[in-house]
Symmetry: C2
């Protein structure tokens, strides 16, 4: 696959999207209990993977994926495939010049929106196709996605956003003001980002399936690697959680933050009670204490567990729910995810909402390619939206990066800003073919 970073070639004006390939790719992560938590005991990290192919002589393709945990990845892939007629046959230049319009046409399709609206399998499918279009557009521009976004004018960025259902909290005019206010410092922050990277924290030590020894060893390694925070999965057994948190606190000392993550395990009352038991170990935040749909529940839990922060987002379906989490003062931190909502466009909306409410964004990552993808959104936010990394970190999990053409690089607790053009999701052709489900060699074995 070509890695040319030259700008749009002269042939681009008539080039079209000729095909959309969809692949069901799964990694047998359940064999080692990587990724095990209170709600996801045996995940096989998987990608419903999409490739937009064109007849442009520049040879660029658009790659993206929806992340799932195994069973049902076929359903997700099938939903993506159902969108092929919306993109195949489109002129590449038209697609890349109006990604806002493209995104809105998919999201507002009256028949497809009946299947959500704007949530679940069909919305994630739209997100994958939209992200593939952004990957293609930024490759054509010869820029990594974060830089491609941060090169757009405030007006161009506002045009990417679907403000439907947002205007009681964020108007296009307010969005423009936020982006204009961040304009003067873009160049300086871009240079600093390229030099210093973006802060990261790590979840690698904290999976429920790991032994005590492994927890302690990986926690110490995380400190040695320069991470300012580690995260532990909790929620299966409170006595176990107390014990593991004590071990982790002993391993990392008082100066490194420890976040805990319940993966939606609790109701409101039990969340508060459980967190009281963990309070002696000063957890920095409790992540996903309850249903991601429960705005009022998160607000109640936040009042009940302060000063521990309450955070959620990896399963929040769309910008409308994020809007309410902010309006209800239900979260201290917003966790965006690159592959849950309707793609880059909706994540721009969510970054703008967070900036409007002054709430920091710490993305969810891990899975398959989520680190590679979401880093671009945080880096764009730093350069062109919030303008800061204060209280902000991107999650880092050290799994499956070897399958990516441009794997994330984390150095001294920071994501190194990627310079390879595109959105980060492109996998090696061999990784894709090896892990095809159910007929690839990894699964036939």
């Amino acid at each position: 696959m070509p890695s040319s970073s030259t700008p749009t070639s002269t042939g681009a004006s008539t080039a079209t999207v000729t095909a959309m390939d969809v692949l069901d790719v799964r990694f047998p992560t359940s064999r080692d209990l990587d990724g095990s938590d209170a709600m996801n005991p045996e995940p096989d990290y998987s990608a419903a993977y999409v490739v937009l192919r064109t007849d442009d002589p520049d040879g660029h393709e658009g790659h993206a994926l929806a992340f799932t945990t195994g069973r049902g990845n076929d359903v997700q892939a099938n939903a993506i495939a159902a969108l092929a007629d919306r993109v195949v046959g489109t002129r590449v230049a038209d697609l890349c010049d109006d990604l806002g319009g493209f995104s809105r046409r998919l999201v507002h399709d009256p028949q497809l929106r009946w299947l959500g609206p704007e949530k679940g399998v069909m919305h994630m499918a739209i997100g994958a196709v939209v992200n593939a279009a952004w990957d293609l557009a930024s490759k054509r521009a010869g820029q990594p996605l974060w830089d491609f976004l941060a090169s757009m004018s405030p007006e161009q960025l506002v045009a990417q956003v679907d403000f439907r259902y947002l205007t009681d909290a964020l108007t296009p005019h307010e969005a423009l003001e936020i982006l204009r206010a961040a304009e003067p410092g873009r160049r300086e922050r871009r240079a600093r980002l390229l030099e210093q990277g973006y802060p990261a924290y790590t979840t690698t030590p904290g999976w429920l399936g790991y032994s005590d020894d492994k927890l302690v060893r990986l926690s110490k390694e995380a400190v040695a690697d320069g991470f300012p925070m580690i995260k532990l999965k909790v929620g299966a057994d409170v006595e176990e959680d107390v014990r593991r948190l004590e071990l982790a606190r002993g391993a990392v000392g008082e100066d490194v933050k420890i976040a805990v993550d319940a993966n939606q395990r609790w109701d409101v009352g039990p969340a508060i009670d459980w967190m009281k038991r963990l309070e002696p170990f000063a957890p920095y935040w409790i992540e996903e204490p309850t249903s991601p749909d429960d705005v009022l529940g998160h607000a109640a839990i936040r009042r009940g567990v302060a000063p521990t922060k309450v955070v959620t987002g990896e399963h929040v379906a769309n910008r409308v729910v994020f809007k309410q989490l902010l309006q209800a003062e239900a979260v201290d931190v917003v966790q965006i995810d690159a592959a849950r909502v309707g793609g880059v466009n909706e994540n721009i909306a969510i970054l703008l909402l967070a900036a409007k409410f002054g709430v920091p964004v710490c993305p969810h990552a891990g899975g398959v390619g989520l680190c590679e993808m979401v880093q671009h959104l945080s880096m764009f936010d730093l350069v062109a939206v919030s303008g800061t990394t204060d209280d902000r970190m991107i999650e880092f999990v050290d799994h499956l990066h070897e399958h990516f053409v441009a794997p994330v690089e984390v150095r001294d607790g920071h994501y190194v800003a990627p310079t390879v053009p595109g959105g980060g999701a492109q996998m090696h052709a061999r990784s894709l073919s090896d892990h095809l489900f159910p007929d690839g060699p990894v699964w036939r074995a």
Copy 2:
């Protein structure tokens, strides 16, 4: 297909579910603009249809469907098919004796729930399979679903409900108290229901694509047919809405209620402004003014448009969102839908929540088979939960009933209580084969 209503035969103890058929069935309703509204201009009402087959000598099958508006019905059908291995091979008696457990196993599956959780395509797929199991169970019992449900003890009913994420608003103990309080009057209300039916209102006159003449004629017919309320679609053009509402008010007089339905067209501010223009015609309720996810938005609109009632539900993804709509006093009426949430079990939860908060339930219906299915839930509610029809009506749309084995019967503005065993979704074999997409004769033409 057999219509025997004898109780479980002796062979049932070893009978198993032998197959699950899934059909993509579509009706070309867009040709006449039946069902056209501000967000759904050209729907082809469709069903992702499921049949559970067994080797039980009683010959019963479980039928149910997920309703869609055309494109994407294949995605919905594919998601249902992905659940086959959860039900095929199950003993029929085990399935029918523990529908609560069956429902929870599907909803809580960690890998499938990643695709929601509890929303969109995968949740509707679970709802369809769960409803098919209830259809089978009530046929085996020889009872229409409403009566099958209303014959269960309060304890049995509480066992159907997944209380996860509900206990801050409704505990199992409170649910039991609601059901026990309604027990004494069950027999009397059942008799009254069989005699008088359940109140209905009609949307037949009010589709956006209809001419003025058709609107006026159908509105007058609705009054003559005994309906206490009609409903008009609004939201495409405010001047048109004013004009059409004036025509409708002229046709029905002052004593018949007129509800209006925006199908999620507006943001919060525009919803309030638009409804001020319609206020002179005394709309009874505004339905779906904005995103079904926007609990706080509905609450703000309700404060802004009182005394006009605010209602929603046909696109509300699950019991957690309904819980919040009630907690936030965001709706005056709860609109359940038989085929949107996780099936009968989750709708029992929603009926109990509404009863706890003292808010009436007026189901969404229409589409394909939604009237046939949802009437059972309201009738069960009357007999065994809320115990009343005060301020309650089931929507009626006079489309596509001829395709059902037991079509709804509406007489003098009331649904006649069905006496045919099952949940109501079973279609004629010929209707299914004629409308198969894309190869049935209706679509080949």
